[in-house]
């Protein structure tokens, strides 16, 4: 891209053509509509339960406004402390994602560089695993996890790595295939061990894919309900989605106000995460995915 083109692009936003201005206005309108469902959840979290479904669009008014009551109710509900659930959720999400990224990127490098029959079989098994509905393996998976004593928050990342390996390996292999082999060859000639080559040469190049896979895995683990519900020992460990599910009584009775409040609380870490690495995410998802 020439300097002139760059300069022209940098200058553009200053004097927008009417067409572009119209686009800005159009997107501003769409953006508001796009955020609407989330905004509705936010202000309903301040309404008393009975007023939530009665008119979900109505803003809180003097009659329906309950301040932070829903938040207090949601947090203090039941005999399981919410901060425990939140702590386990954060821990499981971070460790599982970290483990998945580390192990599958190494596996993907092995698969594409060694490329023998065994690694090709593993690769295709991974691709297949992406399309298996969770229900098909839920009971057998829970059973296997239990027999291997993987039913604690400290060990469940192993299960996540196993069940989530498919997508991650698929995307990493796609990326590794596209990076030129010359650099690694040069490193090998310089006497680098495979470990060193991987961590100092290959892994840094993988950054965009690490981010795009990371985003997918974080979203999955953070919001996942059924897998931790079946695998974890429920008398001791809960996560946020499980905690929210327990707000529902038998016969579908549910405190909607408190549910909305907990949903907002569970969104905060995600939003913080997104805002703090917005740039990397947008770039990363894009670059990583295209290569895949």
């Amino acid at each position: 891209m020439s300097q002139a083109v760059k300069a022209r692009k940098a200058a553009l936003p200053e004097k927008q053509s009417p067409g572009k201005l119209a686009l800005t206005v159009l997107f501003a309108v769409i953006s508001v509509a796009w955020m609407m469902p989330i905004i509705i959840v936010l202000y309903n979290s301040f309404k008393e339960n009975g007023f939530v479904n009665a008119n979900v669009f109505a803003l809180p008014n003097r009659e329906s406004f309950v301040g932070l009551n829903n938040y207090v109710n949601g947090i203090t509900f039941g005999n399981y402390p919410f901060y425990n659930s939140a702590g386990y959720s954060v821990y499981i999400t971070i460790v599982s994602t970290g483990l998945i990224l580390l192990c599958t990127s190494m596996a993907a490098w092995y698969i594409s560089r060694v490329n023998d029959l065994f690694s090709r079989i593993v690769y295709y098994l991974c691709v297949f695993s992406m399309v298996v509905p969770f229900q098909m393996v839920m009971f057998t998976l829970a059973n296997t996890a239990r027999e291997l004593h993987l039913d604690t928050p400290w060990t469940i990342p192993v299960v996540y790595l196993g069940f989530g390996a498919g997508l991650a390996v698929f995307m990493f292999v796609g990326f590794v295939k596209s990076i030129p082999i010359d650099i690694e060859e040069a490193a090998a000639i310089d006497g680098c061990s495979p470990m060193r080559t991987f961590f100092s040469v290959v892994l840094p190049m993988m950054k965009p894919t690490l981010i795009s896979v990371g985003v997918l895995e974080i979203m999955w683990v953070w919001n996942d309900y059924l897998l931790p519900y079946l695998v974890l020992d429920q008398t001791k460990y809960k996560t946020i989605p499980i905690h929210i599910q327990y707000l529902q009584g038998s016969y579908g009775r549910v405190d909607l106000g408190a549910t909305m409040a907990l949903i907002i609380l569970s969104l905060i870490p995600i939003i913080v995460f997104y805002l703090s690495c917005q740039k990397h995410i947008i770039k990363g998802v894009a670059a990583g995915a295209v290569k895949g």
Partner: protein, 425 residues
């Protein structure tokens, strides 16, 4: 070769992890509880018992809508499966037949005042004991009824109910309240109609035909009565019949405690919230039987039964089974246990039961004393409960919105039953 060796080594490691020693000796109790509302009370009671006797009691409460998944998954735990779980109906008995220990002759059963609510297996053995019972009908706000110029005594059958309801509905604007609360078909409310209200045609049909076990087919001979009462619910209420799936259980409850409606079809379990959380005066409340236009229904009492029955795991060790039965006996005989049961479940069918202050139960007892007949929970025979009910809900919703005729409801009721039965047998 190295690779193969490594894989085998890893596999061997895993296998060695799988074989772990299991502790034998003292029996322990593991209760899989079905009611999220009662979780805290059970946990507290378990701790008391443990402190008292030293026997380990673990209570796990399944999340809403996940009971059957949880039970399936937990029962797979060879050494740590629940020793005590719940069976709600005939379908549950059929599914868990291999796991339900016959309880006849146990000390627990000797404490019972009635066996009406127990469930029996194909061999006629009692495999699940109903530990509480509930009644439902039309909860009525007597104060509002009087404001409209009527009294409870005016309502003795469907005809008189309709007359009163139609009149209140016609004068709704002037009175400031309507006859019925919303007949919501949202998941938190639809079971009142697909489960509890369908009991009316099922009960009368089974009574006529002398049905005493789960039938493969039903005829729907009383579906016209079902139509009567449903039409009344959706006509004489302020709710938009075209959008019933948008009304929740909480909406109907709010209609009622806000004084916006006189009649509210629900059960004894509503009492605590209505008088406690929402501060209604117990003297203003009573429960009427559901009248739907069946011959002789003037003599009907409330619909009484239960979906809460304890079953003991037949595959648990003998020590665990004994510990479990001992625990249950303590629950229904001890001061702490009966107190908790009375608070959480109302009256229980055991000799040492504490009295309940729930006026709806008093209504139920009064009607029985007056010689009226109990409408038992015939819907406990429903095959493939969730799917059968889902069919009814969808048909009711379409019918109410004018998108389908009553035939759709008949199909869901009659053909739906046959399909559900065939699928599960």
């Amino acid at each position: 070769m190295r690779k193969l060796f490594a894989v085998l080594l890893a596999a061997a490691m895993l296998l060695s992890m799988m074989s772990f020693a299991s502790a034998e000796g003292e029996g322990k109790v593991y209760y899989l509880n079905f009611k999220p509302e009662a979780d805290q009370a059970w946990q507290a009671l378990a701790q008391q018992y443990q402190a008292l006797t030293g026997v380990e009691v673990k209570v796990l409460t399944a999340a809403s809508g996940s009971y059957s998944t949880t039970l399936t998954s937990e029962m797979d735990k060879k050494d740590a499966a629940p020793t005590l779980f719940q069976i709600g109906n005939a379908e549950g008995v059929a599914t868990w037949a291999d796991y339900a220990l016959p309880l006849d002759g146990t000390e627990l059963m000797q404490e019972m005042t009635t066996e009406d609510f127990n469930l029996k297996n194909a061999a006629g053995q009692t495999v699940a004991v109903g530990y509480c019972y509930e009644a439902y009908g039309i909860i009525t706000n007597k104060a509002l009824l009087e404001k409209a110029g009527y009294s409870v005594a005016d309502i003795t059958n469907f005809e008189s109910l309709k007359k009163v309801a139609d009149d209140i509905h016609a004068r709704a604007a002037e009175l400031g309240f309507d006859a019925f609360t919303s007949a919501g078909l949202d998941g938190s409310s639809s079971w009142r109609f697909s489960g509890h209200l369908t009991n009316m045609p099922l009960f009368y049909e089974f009574r006529d035909d002398g049905v005493t076990e789960q039938p493969a087919t039903v005829k729907g001979s009383y579906l016209n009565a079902y139509k009567n009462i449903w039409d009344l619910y959706i006509t004489d209420s302020a709710a938009d019949a075209k959008k019933l799936s948008g009304y929740t259980g909480a909406d109907a409850e709010k209609d009622f405690y806000d004084g916006k409606a006189v009649f509210f079809q629900n059960g004894t379990w509503e009492y605590a919230d209505l008088t406690g959380k929402y501060g209604m005066n117990p003297d203003d409340l009573c429960m009427l039987p559901i009248y739907c236009g069946v011959e002789g229904e003037e003599n009907a009492a409330l619909c009484a039964g239960t979906e809460n029955c304890w079953a003991v795991n037949a595959k648990a060790s003998e020590a665990d089974q004994k510990a479990t039965l001992d625990f249950l006996k303590w629950v229904v005989t001890s001061e702490e246990g009966t107190q908790m049961m009375a608070e959480q479940f109302g009256p229980i069918p055991f000799k040492a039961a504490k009295a309940s202050s729930n006026v709806f139960f008093n209504d139920a007892t009064e009607m029985l004393n007056a010689g009226k007949y109990v409408v038992t929970w015939a819907f406990n025979y429903t095959p493939d409960v969730d799917n059968w009910r889902a069919g009814i809900v969808s048909a009711l919703e379409q019918y109410s919105a004018g998108a389908a005729d009553w035939g759709e409801v008949e199909y869901a009721f009659v053909d739906g039953w046959a399909t559900a039965y065939a699928n599960t047998h």
